[in-house]
Amino acid sequence: MAFVQIRDMSVAFGSAPALRGISLSVERGEALGLVGESGCGKSITWLAALGLLPRSAKVGGSVLLDGVELIGASPSVLEPVRGGRIAMIFQDPASSLNPVHRIGHQIAEALALHRGLTGAPARAEVIRLLDQVGIPDAKTRANAYPHELSGGQNQRVMIAMALAGEPELLVADEPTTALDVTIQAQILDLLGTIRRDTSMGLVLISHDLGVVSETCSRIAVMYAGRIVEQAESAAIFANPSHPYTRGLLGAMPPISGPRQKLVSIPGSVPEASRMPQGCAFAPRCSEAIADCTRVDPAAVTVEANHLAACIRATPAKTGTRTPERVLA
């Protein structure tokens, strides 16, 4: 059984649906990428799973963690999960850290909460964690305030804090979006190292297919509150089976080959309160047929472990499509 099993989860704020039936599983130790544009529900999925949404949100469906239901669970069930079994880090580390406390103190708080460590053992563990995430001179830096560190170092502190609870799964929500390119490379590298050392699972939420493809073995593409395609990373690039995935790939400027017009997706993402009839992507889809505006397609198996929610997706003949535009 999968470590986390999300089945038909839905979230609505008032009458506006933010998630419209998500089914997704994360295996123990797996690195899964969750890709989509702003507002597609990729962050909401995990906030809802951990019960972190405001009460006004209507959450439906089921999230099983090792077989235990989390949706509607009592605080006594959820508290050891949040930051304990599943930790989460966010895009902007500076706004997630408390500016008036030293970083060592903030990590120690997490240690006290999740592992009951205090005093000298906690201090030693803080330094070990800062060391593990690559903060130089950890002993001195533990006394620094967040504003004394750079953006990349603050993100390392957030990762150290997440690791304090020895989580089985780390959900990283756009962890490198606010960082510079060379610092992004450092953080992705660090996440890879930690995973090798601890066998921790990773859910990497990003708008950037490139970032996700390098780090994750499996990718789920989301659009307007739905998962439109999921497959092994290589299959997403070799055989993208949903027009939206193909659109995202076409929108990435190639790094070699002739420079030509990018294949852009016309229009923009629909608003939650004005979700189109049928397939939510149909109004922007260049391959839409009449049925697309009538039927909201269910996910079909394109090939082994490869699902696409498009009525035109058909089981592919292997090796017919080459990824040269993307891989060039």
């Binding site: 390098e214 990435m252 070699s256 923009s268 891989l327």
Partner: protein, 337 residues
């Protein structure tokens, strides 16, 4: 030099220093944001300026537009020295050079319909009769792919892509010769980025203006630019054709930038630079990149390398090692992952 050969814009040895005070009683430090930048842009040419935050690329953009005065060096626009910021000569010139910002929502006035905002530069520069202005606004909106009915909308009633189109329309309404775009796509969603990149390339080809495209994204810079300049801590460290820089970067910093581009199917090992992006207030001596450089030699710590053509192939690069002046130092510490 005849008028047709003369670059539209040339900047010579630009330098700009800011004074900052840390805290209430802190000591005043000088931050040299731009430190000797020389660049030219021809008509119909796009120069991509790429670098990380704090490298001085936005300050460079402001200097070439004359919004700020350089402490040293000179900007020439169309052969004549740039008049001082705020002077009547400069105000008159502003209709020929326009700026597009990163975040369209903060670049637009939320209380005004976008049609009025697109028209505003025509009113400021007193260009045409009201009827002509209406016609020009309609024309430029069509050029950027906005529908006529969008003119009556307020910014929040447009999508992100439409808002950036409105900002571009406002910049183009005076038919400028130079368009400076400062991170015009970084605040946009992936699918919208492609739309805006296509639009900028198409407009530049059709209207033949010169363009300075400032970005941290090498992929986007390649897509849009004819020439690329890589900046690090206030200086241009390498300059050349986009594909030359992307496929055979000469400067160790360009090499790290290129190897940091995440892309599917990547097989090459990534150079992970050590340390943080440098602090312009605490500029290392010699080559500013040397503390993070995997091939630093002794000379790099004392002597600042100049941007000049490399003997082997003429690539313009500011690096003692790439120029073959010194042997690469401690290669063993080059961290590959």
């Amino acid at each position: 030099m005849t008028a047709s050969q003369m670059p539209l814009l040339s900047a010579q040895d630009l330098a700009r220093t800011y004074s900052i005070r840390r805290g209430m009683a802190g000591r005043v430090t000088n931050v040299r944001a731009v430190d000797g930048v020389t660049l030219t842009i021809a008509r119909g040419e796009t120069l991509g300026l790429v670098g990380e935050s704090g490298c001085g690329k936005s300050t460079t953009a402001r200097l070439v537009l004359g919004i700020e005065r350089p402490d040293e060096g000179q900007v020439r626009f169309d052969g004549a020295p740039m008049p001082g910021s705020g002077s009547p000569g400069w105000a008159a010139l502003r209709k020929r050079m326009q700026l597009v910002f990163q975040d369209p929502l903060s670049a637009l006035d939320r209380r005004l319909p976008v049609g009025l905002q697109i028209r505003e530069p025509l009113e400021i520069h007193r260009m045409g009769t009201p009827a002509e202005q209406n016609a020009r606004v309609a024309e430029v909106m069509e050029e950027v792919g906005l529908q006529p009915h969008h003119a009556d909308r307020h910014p929040h009633a447009l999508s992100g892509g439409q808002r950036q189109r409105a900002v571009i329309a406002r910049a183009l309404v005076t038919q400028p010769d130079l368009l400076v775009c400062d991170e015009p796509i970084s605040a946009l969603d992936v699918s919208i980025q492609a739309q805006v990149m296509n639009l900028l390339v198409e407009l530049q080809e059709r209207l033949g203006m010169g363009m300075l495209f400032v970005s941290h994204d090498l992929r986007a810079v390649r897509q849009i630019s004819h020439r690329v300049a890589v900046m690090y801590l206030g200086r241009i460290v390498e300059e050349g054709a986009p594909d030359e820089i992307l496929h055979a970067p000469a400067h160790p910093y360009s090499q790290a930038l290129v190897s940091a581009i995440p892309h599917p199917g990547k097989t090459a090992r990534r150079i992970v630079l050590q340390g943080d992006p440098p602090n312009p207030a605490d500029r290392p001596p010699g080559c500013a990149f040397h503390p993070r450089c995997p091939v630093t030699a002794m000379r790099c710590r004392t002597e600042t390398p100049l941007l000049k053509p490399r003997p082997s192939d003429g690539r313009r690069v500011a690096c003692h090692v790439a120029q073959g002046e010194v042997a690469p130092g401690h290669v063993g510490q080059l961290e590959l992952s």
